[in-house]
Amino acid sequence: MGLKASSEISMPDTGRTDGASGVDDASGVDGTDGVDDDMDDTHGMNGTDSADDLDDTTVMYVQPSVAGAAKILVVGPMGVGKTTLIGTVSEIKPLSTEATMSRAGARLDMPVRPTKSTTTVALDFGRITLGGELVLYLFGTPGQQRFLPAWKDLARGALGALALVDTRDLEASFDAIGHLEDLDVPFSVAVNSFPDSVLHSEDDLRSALDLLPHTPLVICDAREHKSSVKALISLVSHLIETVSEAT
C-alpha cells in the first residue's frame, strides 16, 4: 500500500476540487454511484492508494449522539460482491484498509513466499447509523485464509456475519463459511445473483453448501439497496431467533 512520506501533518490540500466539498452535506445515501463493480477486491486496493491524500472535508464523522458501535462481517471470496453490497448500504463511501497478518499465519497460508514475514488482507468497510444512537459497521473480508489472526480479531465481538455466495463458483465460498463455523460466528447466507448465475433450487444450494436447516439462505442483488438491507435483516432476524430459542 502506498505509504508515502509522512512528513509534518500535511495541511488539507486546498487545491483539491474533485467534489470533496460535496461530501459535506452528508446526505448519506449518495456515494454509492458506480458500485456495480463486481471486482470488489480490486476496487478495494485502489481505494487504499487515495487514502494518503487526507483531506478533512472528506471525513464524514459519526453523529455525536451515537453512543457506540456494533459490527457485522460480510465474508466471501474475491469478486463475490462484498464491497458492492457494503457500498450499497453504507452511508459513507466504502473505505478500504489492510489488516496485517502475523508471521505465524503467513507461514501457513503463504507457502509460495515463505520468506515474507507478514502479509496483509484487504478489508473493506462501510457504516450505517441506526436510530441516531448506534452505528453499525460492516467489515468485508475475503475469508479464504484460514488461521488468519486478523480474521479472528475481526470476528471477535461481531454480531454475526453475512456470507456472500456466487452460484457460479460455490466452492469458492466454502472456506469463508467453514471459518465462520469454526469461530462460532452466527451467519446467514446471501446468494448474490449475477446476470449469468445458474439457477439452483434452495435445497440443492443448501446441500451443496452443507448448511444447517436453521441457517437462513436468501437471494439478493448486492447492487440494490433494498435487497442488500433485506439480506442484513435476514441475518439479524436469525440472530434474534437464535437468542430467543436459547432463552
Partner: protein, 119 residues
Amino acid sequence: MIEPGEERTTAAVRPYVITRGRAGSSRDALPLETLVKSSGSALSPALQPEYRRIVRCCQGLLSVAEVAAHLGQPPAVVQVLLADLIDWGHIVARPPIRVAKRADMDLLRKVLDGLESKL
C-alpha cells in the same frame, strides 16, 4: 534488518518503528469498530507527527478502522498509536457495544429496527 548506524527514513518503515514493535500484538488491540474522538487537550510540541495526524483526523467521532483508512496507515499501527493517545488523554474512546454471549436482545432489536427503517 537495519544495520547499526543505518538510517531508515522511508515512511513505510516509520509507522512500525514508532510503535516500537508493538503493532500486531493483537492481545489487547483496540477493536476496529471502537469509536474515538479527540479530547481537545493541548498537544505537546514534542508529540510526533504520526500522533498529531491521528488527533487531527479525530476532530469528530470515527471508528479506529476509519482513522486507519483515512490516514492510509495499517490498522495495526493506528491501533497502537491510538491506545497511546488514549493513555495520554488526547483521545477519548467509546468502546464497541459487544453482545454478551450474543444474548443481548435489546441491541439486536435496535439493529433490526434500524435496518427496517432503511427499507
